[in-house]
């Protein structure tokens, strides 16, 4: 199966890129192994407890994507800068995220994983303001 990687750099709701990425990924799953890398402000997307008044909850959208098989990773440096910390013991306990502030299925990881995702991809889509 071919691999599609989507990179995002913006937080939810400031643009429609998070929602567009979800639609692209949903459409591609099954035909592509889908990876999504969250960089810079995009690390806010998987935060638990979002309650947008006028938009679809971006965190829930991404968590559902992960359930369907998308590999979704967030940059560790960007996440730490914004208060999201990776805790190894969470994954050891079987939690699907290594960050207690994130929806299940999305993990904080090294930036080197972006390089790995890109190098193994057949298609790459970059969405950024």
């Amino acid at each position: 199966m071919k691999t599609l990687t989507i990179t995002l750099t913006d937080g939810p709701y400031v643009s429609e890129y998070a929602e567009i990425a979800c639609k692209l990924a949903e459409n591609a799953i099954g035909r592509y192994q889908v990876n999504i890398f969250l960089y810079l402000d995009a690390v806010h997307i998987p935060k638990k407890g979002q309650n947008p008044s006028f938009f679809t909850n971006a965190g829930e959208l991404f968590s559902r994507l992960a359930e369907k098989g998308a590999v979704i990773r967030a940059c560790a440096r960007c996440a730490a800068a914004r208060g999201y910390l990776a805790e190894d013991e969470l994954t050891n306990e079987g939690n699907e995220s290594n960050c207690r502030d994130y929806y299940p299925g999305i993990k904080i990881t090294s930036l080197y994983e972006l390089s790995e995702m890109l190098s193994k991809s057949d298609r790459v889509i970059s969405l950024s303001m």
Partner: protein, 114 residues
């Protein structure tokens, strides 16, 4: 993918974007051929003599000097528009005209916008 082009059109220090672009480009060096393209306000990163000490943030020029193997191409028309063309620039960078800049983007397997 064997090559990646990171496109930076934001000035350094005002936001995290330039730092983020440099980090992403550097970590990609071990797997792919990497080009960092400076366009628009991104060309301010090419200026020599940067001193970010009072800002309390890393000197981004030091990262460029530290990773000499990173290919950095600077969009020359953007430099001209900003009055930087005659200024002293970091010597390891490559100046390219409009055609060559976009050709480098087209020739890369993927383009990442930051």
């Amino acid at each position: 993918m064997e090559s990646v082009f990171y496109l930076l059109d934001t000035a350094p220090y005002g936001s995290e974007k330039a730092f983020g672009a440099l980090n992403a480009a550097v970590v990609s060096l071990n797997r792919m051929s990497v080009t960092l393209g400076l366009y628009g306000d991104g060309v301010y990163l090419a200026a020599a003599g940067q001193n970010s000490r009072k800002l309390g943030v890393p000197n981004l020029a030091d990262i460029l000097y530290a990773y000499g193997e990173l290919k950095v191409t600077v969009h020359e028309p953007s430099l001209v528009k900003r009055g930087l063309f005659g200024e002293t620039l970091i010597e390891t960078l490559e100046l390219t005209d409009e055609v060559d800049f976009f050709e480098a983007m087209e020739n890369s397997d993927c383009v990442i916008l930051l």
